[in-house]
Amino acid sequence: MDQLFPRTAMAVVEFLEKRGVEVHYPTAQTCCGQPMKNSGCASEVDSLAGRFYEIFSDYDYVVCPSGSCTSMVRHHYHDHLSSGQENELKVKVYEFCEFIHDVLKVDDIDASFPHQVGLHQSCHGLRELRLGSSSERNEKAFSKVRTLLAQVKGLELVDLERPDECCGFGGTFAVTEESVSCQMGKDRIQDHLSAKAQVITGVDSSCLMHLEGLIKRSGTQLPTIHVAEILNGSAQL
C-alpha cells in the first residue's frame, strides 16, 4: 500500500478527514506479517505482531484499506501476542469499508463515478471479516461494500456469474502455483467482462494488482481501482 498504491492510502486519509476523523499515520509501521504467516514462516510473525501492538495500541481505531491485513490482525494474531494484547487490538482494527459502514455509519457518500463497476469480493474480507454474505452460506444477502458503493452517484454495479470466487492471488501462491493462479485470475476477469464491467473494484490492492497484471498483459481495457478511491471521489480512470 505504502510503496505501490499510495493513492489508495491517501484516499483513505482524505475520506476520513472529511468526516471529521483525526487521522495519524505512524511511520514506524511496515507490515502485519501476513506474507510470513501464510507461507508457513509463522515464527517471523511474532516480532511484527509485537511491533504492530506497540505502534497502534494507543489509538481508538486502526483503519486499514485491506481485508486480508485486517483479518490477519483480528483472526490470526492469537498465536503471536498475549491474549490481552490480542483482544485489545481485535476490537479496534477495522477494514476501511467496515469502519465507515459500522462505526461512522456513513449513508451520504459524496462521490460520483458514472461507470459500470464489477465488485471483486476479496476472500478474507468476505469469509473472515464477513463484510458480506458468502454464496456458500444460507444467510440473508448483505454486503457492506455494495451498500457504500450504491451511494456513489452514477455508479452501476454489474451482476457477476460467480460473485465471490477467488481471484487466485493468494500471496506466495501467485508465484508458487503460477499457472493455477493465473487461470483463476483470467476466469475472474472474463466474468467481469461478460457482465460488461468497465472497472473492477475491491477492498484489497493485492487482488487488484494480480488482476491488473493479467489485464495489462492481455491488452484488455479494464482498469482496477481500489474501492477507497471511488468512495473518496478521487478515482482516476
Binding site: 500500500m1 499510495p6 511511520t27 510473525v45 476472500c123 477467488c166 508465484v175 493479467l214
Partner: protein, 454 residues
C-alpha cells in the same frame, strides 16, 4: 510430482480444464440451490458439527457400543490398526469362504488401503460396480473425486475405454447407451460374485447397524445376492443414535450433488439367513489425528465432496494433481498426516479463500487447517530453503522501518530504469503471464509527509 507441476500439466489442455471447472461449478450451484431451500441449513450444519464433535470426544465409548450392538445382531466385527491389517483381515475372510470374485461398491477407504491390487495379487478378482469407479478401474487409474470418481473424463473418453474393454460401438458416446452397456456387463459380475464389499457412510452405535448411501443401487444388489458382505469403515464413521442419522442424511446428498437425498440409503442391521456380514473398523492414522487439537475437526468429514467442488484450485488442477486418494481441501488436510514427505506441497495448493470452510456441512475449518499445516511443515523442514531465507530477509526489513523506507526509495528509483529483459525472465514467475504493477514516484509515507493538512 508436486501439486504445482501436476497442475501445470492439467492446464496444458485449457479447453478440458475449462470444461472441468464448469462441470464442478455446476454441481456446486446445484448444492447452493438445494441448501438454500432449507431455511434451517445453518442450524443443521451446527447440529451436525456438534454431534461429530461430541462423538469424537467419546469415540472409544461409541465404537465399543457399536461393536457390542452389532455383535448382538449377529454381525462380525473386526478391528484394523492400519491399511495392511485391513487388507489382511478382508483377505482372510474371503479365503475362509473360498471367494474368487467380489463385487465392490464405492468405498474411499478401500482405495485408501489400496485393497484392489492387494486382493488381485492374491488371485481374487475385484469388480468395482459404481459406474464412475468402474470406468476408472477399466482405465487402471485412481478416482479423481471422492463422489464423482470419473469427473475428469469426458464421455468420449468413456466411450473409448468401453469400446476397448466391453466391445461397445466405436464412437458411440451417448450416455444412455454407455450406461446400459455398463449395466449389462456388470450384471454378469453381480450374478457370479461370491462376496460383496461396501463402504460405510454411517455406523449407528445405538442400533449396531450401518448405512450405505448410493445412487445406483449397486451396493444393495451386490450385498444382497452373494452370501458374504464385508463393509469397511473408518473409525470416525460412527454416530451415536438413529435420530442423528436424519441430520446427516439431509446434509450429505444436498452437499454432494444437490440432491435432496441419495437414491438409496441402505440400512444393514442383520444378515439374511445363511449369509454373513462382517464390519472392519479401520484406524490407519485416524486416532493420531484425534490427539491433534489443530486438526481433530478433519475427522468430522462425511466425504460429501463439497469442498472439492467449490475449491477454485481443485477445479483448475483436477483430482489427480493432488497425488492422494482424497484430493481437494480435505485431502490436502488429511494427506500430510500419512506422509509429509510425499504430500508437503498440498497445504500450499490453496489461496486460503475459505470457500471450503463455508461450504462444509460439518463445519470443518478447512482453510485454517491448511494454514496450520504450513507452519507445521516449516517446523519439520519441508519448506524450500529459498522461501525460508527470503521470508527471514523480508521480515527483518519490516522490523527496521528506516531500512524499509530507504529500500523502498531505492527500489522505486532503480526499478523503472531496468530493461524489460532483466525484469521479465524465467525466474520471474509473476511476470510469465502478468505485468508488474507500475511504480509510483512517491511512497505514501513521502506523500503524507509533504502534503498540507486541510
Amino acid at each position: 510430482m508436486n501439486h504445482p507441476q501436476a497442475a501445470d500439466t492439467f492446464l496444458e489442455n485449457p479447453e478440458h480444464a475449462k470444461w472441468h471447472d464448469r462441470a464442478l461449478w455446476f454441481v456446486r450451484q446445484k448444492r447452493d440451490k438445494a441448501s438454500k431451500k432449507l431455511p434451517e441449513w445453518e442450524d443443521l450444519r451446527d447440529l451436525a458439527a456438534g454431534i461429530k464433535k461430541h462423538t469424537l470426544t467419546k469415540l472409544s465409548h461409541y465404537l465399543q457400543e457399536f461393536e457390542s450392538k452389532a455383535q448382538a445382531n449377529g454381525l462380525h466385527v473386526h478391528w484394523a490398526k492400519d491399511a495392511e491389517e485391513h487388507n489382511e483381515i478382508v483377505h482372510s475372510i474371503l479365503e475362509k469362504s473360498k471367494v474368487k470374485k467380489i463385487v465392490k461398491s464405492k468405498s474411499m477407504l478401500t482405495e485408501e488401503c489400496h485393497l484392489n491390487p492387494y486382493l488381485e495379487s492374491k488371485g481374487i478378482e475385484v469388480i468395482d460396480t459404481d459406474l464412475g469407479e468402474r470406468i476408472v478401474q477399466l482405465r487402471r487409474e485412481p478416482p479423481s473425486h471422492i463422489v464423482l470418481p470419473a469427473i475428469h473424463l469426458k464421455r468420449e473418453q468413456v466411450s473409448e475405454v468401453f469400446h476397448e474393454k466391453m466391445n461397445t460401438e466405436k464412437g458411440n458416446s451417448q450416455p444412455e447407451y454407455l450406461t446400459e452397456a455398463a449395466r449389462q456387463d456388470l450384471r454378469k459380475d453381480f450374478l457370479s460374485a461370491d462376496a460383496a464389499m461396501t463402504g460405510v457412510n454411517f455406523a449407528i452405535a445405538e442400533t449396531g447397524g450401518f448405512v450405505v448411501c448410493t445412487n445406483e443401487g449397486n451396493a444393495d444388489l451386490g450385498a444382497t445376492l452373494p452370501p458374504l458382505h464385508i463393509a469397511s469403515m473408518g473409525l470416525e464413521k460412527v454416530i451415536p443414535r438413529m435420530t442423528d442419522l436424519s441430520v446427516f442424511l439431509r446434509l450429505l446428498a444436498r452437499s454432494a450433488t444437490g440432491q435432496t437425498i441419495t437414491s438409496y440409503s441402505s440400512h444393514f442391521h442383520k444378515a439374511q439367513e445363511g449369509s454373513e456380514i462382517h464390519v472392519v473398523i479401520v484406524d490407519n492414522g485416524r486416532s493420531k489425528i484425534l490427539h491433534e487439537p489443530e486438526f481433530i475437526k478433519s475427522l468430522q468429514c462425511i466425504r460429501c465432496g463439497a469442498c472439492l467442488n467449490t475449491c477454485p484450485v481443485y477445479r483448475r488442477s483436477g483430482g489427480h494433481s493432488y497425488g492422494n486418494v482424497v484430493p481437494g481441501p480435505i485431502g490436502s488436510v488429511l494427506a500430510p498426516h500419512g506422509s509429509p514427505e510425499a504430500h508437503h506441497s498440498l497445504p500450499f495448493a490453496s489461496t486460503l479463500c475459505g470457500s471450503c470452510t463455508d461450504v462444509c456441512p460439518v463445519k470443518i475449518d478447512l482453510h485454517t487447517q491448511l494454514l496450520n499445516w504450513r507452519s507445521k511443515l516449516m517446523k519439520s523442514g519441508y519448506l524450500p530453503k529459498s522461501k525460508v531465507i527470503s521470508m527471514k530477509v523480508v521480515s527483518w526489513t519490516f522490523r527496521h522501518p528506516k531500512v524499509y523506507a530507504t529500500a523502498g526509495v531505492l527500489f522505486r528509483k532503480i526499478f523503472p530504469l531496468l530493461p524489460t529483459s532483466l525484469v521479465y525472465n524465467r525466474w520471474n514467475a509473476w511476470g510469465k503471464q502478468r505485468e508488474l504493477p507500475s511504480i509510483p514516484k512517491m511512497s505514501f509515507r513521502e506523500m503524507y509527509k509533504k502534503r498540507k493538512k486541510p
